[in-house]
């Protein structure tokens, strides 16, 4: 079979960054082709080029054998290229139909013809088994359903070449299964698919071939059936990677944190965490597994004081801290590596040294009588930056915005560990980082545990939870499904629990 898309020797440079440096990718008619690479390897840029959002500096693109210039998403549309973006591009207060027709509207005279469009959408939805209500408003439907709306958007435009950008990041295990079924259906109907991912298991499950890129360069294209996960991982990272993290068995001590019957509302004023109880002891890492939005934020924010609880108790070293302010909890020894380092973890327009004293700027020796003491701040920051290997242009006076994501994260972790907390809460500490940084951060977390600290690790990455934690608690719909020892469980079991199946019920 011929190639429907060929992207040859693509180069794309942004001010200061070479995002794509000689990448070649060929998509065969009727295949599912995975595009594998680490965060920042250049996958999204490459696909944005194919979709017409960026223009390549060098290289050429052939669609069905003809060389093409894809100047805008409209051109991509006309060529039958459609894309499901990682962050859905849907207008929240529009209906499904309005979202789908946007940009290629049917009209009766000057008036929008939404009825005919809705009928067409309904038919498409039936044909591909998508089960979408064309009249529902986007803000009222689930994330999985929203993704299917995105798929319908492509089908409505008769796209033949479908790009999926990290499609499983926001889905439950069942929804992932469902999505894979839909993808196979699409292939049966003659479509061709490119799926961007860094999850090897999904590639194994669904893809025919896989192109691996690293630091903007193509490493190679392999047949998935003939290649092991280990081999693909090595291509992606560029060296031998062991997914197992080196660690001694835990030696848990006293209970540091004890949550009892915690009820916490989410931002929509309904219970986001319901009757939740959990213990974390000194010298152990407790992992919390679950699909995004199942109560993790509520849990973390309740412990740190960012969100008030409805009922229940938060015992910390033997006393209830539920009424304490955020600052008091920090002073009591609760460290928090937040989920979103740019939203919460750092003041991006402050310098590194200013960020290193974010919680303690007003304490001795960093301030005296309400006046900051730069010298003390500088030397404290210097120490953290050295011991945590934070690299920046101008050292402590670099503005944090100018740092790479990995260095920003290392700075946060350094700051929190330097506070010497008794309880360290790490939320998605490795999100969006390359494998080197991930290994480094995991090592640091285990080091804290070995020093006798309690660590609570919240992550969406199952691998991370399984490899780093000693004990695993699983969340579903704001409730604790169960607790298991990391050494006695496996991915399957956790996956089922994440879907709400109690231990022993299924499998």
């Amino acid at each position: 079979m011929g190639y429907v898309v060929e992207m040859v020797n693509i180069r794309k440079e942004f001010p200061g960054v070479v995002a794509n440096d000689d990448i070649t990718l060929r998509l065969e008619q009727g295949e599912i082709h995975a595009l594998l690479g680490e965060n920042g390897a250049g996958k999204s840029t490459l696909m944005s080029i194919l979709f017409g959002m960026y223009q390549p500096d060098r290289g050429h693109i052939q669609v069905r054998g003809k060389e093409m210039k894809i100047a805008s998403p409209n051109v991509a549309n006309d060529l039958g290229i459609g894309m499901v973006h990682q962050h859905f591009k849907l207008v929240g207060n529009f209906t499904v139909t309005e979202n789908i027709v946007l940009g290629s509207e049917l009209r009766k005279g000057p008036v929008l013809d939404l009825k005919t469009a809705a009928k067409k959408i309904e038919a498409l939805s039936k044909r591909y088994g998508l089960n979408v209500d064309p009249y529902a408003k986007i803000e009222n439907i689930s994330v999985g359903m929203q993704q299917r709306v995105e798929i319908l958007k492509m089908l409505y435009r008769d796209a033949e070449i479908l790009i999926f950008d990290e499609p499983t990041a926001v889905l439950t295990p069942q929804e992932i299964e469902e999505l894979m079924k839909i993808m196979r259906n699409l292939i049966k109907e003659g479509k061709s698919i490119i799926v961007i991912t860094h999850k090897l298991k999904e590639i194994k499950a669904v893809a025919d071939r896989c192109t691996v890129i690293r630091r903007g360069k193509t490493i190679g294209t392999v047949n998935v059936a003939e290649t092991s996960e280990q081999a693909m991982a090595e291509m992606m990272v560029g060296r031998n990677v062991s997914f197992k993290v080196d660690k001694k068995p835990a030696a848990p001590g006293e209970t540091v944190l004890k949550l009892e019957h915690l009820n916490v509302n989410n931002s929509k004023k309904v219970l986001g965490l319901a009757d939740f109880s959990l213990e974390v002891r000194a010298g152990e890492i407790v992992g919390v597994a679950g699909v995004e939005g199942n109560g993790q934020s509520e849990l973390v924010e309740a412990i740190t004081g960012l969100r008030k609880i409805e009922s229940g108790t938060i015992w910390y070293n033997g006393h209830d801290i539920a009424k304490l302010s955020i600052r008091d909890r920090i002073y009591e020894g609760i460290g928090h590596i937040p989920e979103d380092r740019q939203r919460r973890g750092l003041v991006l327009d402050y310098t590194l040294e200013e960020n290193m004293v974010l919680q303690i700027y007003n304490r001795k020796p960093f301030a005296k009588g309400g006046i900051l003491r730069r010298q003390a701040i500088r030397s404290y920051a210097d120490k953290i930056l050295k011991s945590f290997d934070v690299r920046s242009g101008q050292g402590p006076i670099s503005v944090v915005r100018s740092l790479s994501g990995g260095n920003q994260q290392k700075a946060i972790i350094g700051r929190e560990i330097e506070l010497d907390p008794n309880l360290l809460i790490a939320v998605q500490p490795t999100r969006g980082l390359d494998v080197g940084s991930i290994e480094y951060i995991h090592k640091r977390l285990i080091e804290q545990r070995d020093k006798g600290k309690a660590v609570l690790l919240i992550s969406l990455e199952l691998d991370e939870i399984l490899n780093v934690s000693d004990r695993i608690a699983v969340l579903n719909h704001g409730q604790l499904v169960g607790e298991v020892l990391a050494s006695e469980t496996n991915e399957n079991e956790i996956g089922l629990m994440m879907a709400g199946v109690q231990r022993g019920e299924g499998a």
């Binding site: 805008s72 207008v91 929240g92 529009f94 979202n99 946007l102 940009g103 290629s104 008036v111 929008l112």
Partner: protein
């Protein structure tokens, strides 16, 4: 009491119309994602252009009504052109929209007086004759309603109400409206769907400029009759009405009428015994306080376009 209300009503409507058209223009701008606090300035520019055009034409063609309509057209065009400054700053340069809007207000306020002084010396521009009031035949004889709505009306009132209906249709029933609204809610979605966010936002701002210009000229050609370099905060009141009306055409109509009515009462309170008991200051401050309260009440469930005020950068995901 009935007589008082019936007497006030036509004035309230006259006062409402410039507010309504200006707020309606701002509705287009904000629905496309651009906050326009330069309404005051755009109204001033429109008032200036309208007054100058009408003044010159009436000198050449005394007593002709069409001169007034030409004045409105001129105000619309100048309003559009002037709003391009705001559009360029906030769309092409991703400038802070509040600062740009403030600059528009200040440039308009000082530039028009500067020019007017060069023309007339005093800085004021009078028109000889404004629109004539008339009672609509038949309809004005309907009991109650006739006296309230169809007596002593201006043609501009009916024209602007027509624009309101047309705008509602445009926003919610046509391709243009769908695309415009998508740019104000989620410009990245619009872009991915092939809609040119820049173009739609330019359209929104330009409509806002044109409508505000019309509003300014209607003030001149109905109740004021003279340009003096200010529209006395009506532009800001229109902005308040937009919020109070929750970014919906009918809401804006209700809010502007409410403000128009309140202001009229405040203006006439001295001469009407039943209002004299209320201190004038309370009547004057009333609309602003109501808006503050509305802001608090709507703070949890605001219908504000989500992307309004945020510069759009197509690289950001």
């Amino acid at each position: 009491m009935w007589d008082t209300i019936a007497n006030i009503f036509p004035y309230a409507i006259v006062y409402t119309i410039p507010l309504l058209i200006t707020a309606l223009g701002a509705l287009f701008s904000e629905r496309s994602g651009i906050v326009n606090i330069g309404l005051e300035g755009l109204m001033i520019v429109g008032a200036f252009a309208g007054a100058l055009t009408i003044n010159k034409l009436q000198a050449a063609y005394p007593g002709e009504q069409w001169t007034l309509w030409v004045g409105l057209v001129a105000a619309f065009v100048i309003g559009v052109l002037f709003s391009l400054l705001h559009a360029f700053a906030s769309i092409n340069l991703s400038a802070n929209q509040v600062i740009s809007g403030t600059a528009i207000n200040m440039v308009a306020g000082s530039l028009t007086i500067f020019l007017a002084r060069n023309i007339t010396g005093s800085g004021n521009i009078r028109i000889l004759q404004g629109f004539r009031k008339f009672d609509i035949p038949v309809l004005s004889d309907i009991p109650i309603i006739g006296r309230l709505f169809f007596s002593q009306t201006y043609w501009t009132t009916w024209f602007i109400l027509g624009v309101l209906i047309l705008s509602t249709f445009l926003l919610f029933k046509t391709r243009f409206g769908l695309r415009l609204r998508s740019c104000g809610e989620h410009p990245h979605a619009a872009e991915a769907a092939g809609v040119s966010v820049r173009k739609m936002r330019y359209m929104g701002v330009m409509i806002s400029g044109g409508f505000a210009g019309l509003g300014g000229a209607i003030i001149i050609s109905t109740y004021s009759g003279e340009f003096n370099g200010s529209v006395a905060g009506l532009g800001f009141l229109a902005l308040a009405a937009l919020i109070f009306g929750q970014w919906k055409p009918l809401g804006v109509l209700a809010a502007t009428f409410f403000f128009g009515f309140a202001s009229t009462i405040a203006n006439v309170s001295q001469v009407i015994p039943s209002f004299q008991v209320i201190p004038a200051v309370i009547l004057k401050v009333f609309p602003y306080v109501v808006t503050l309260i509305a802001l608090v009440l709507f703070s949890k469930s605001s219908q504000a376009p989500k992307a309004a005020g945020e510069p759009f950068d197509s690289g950001k995901r």
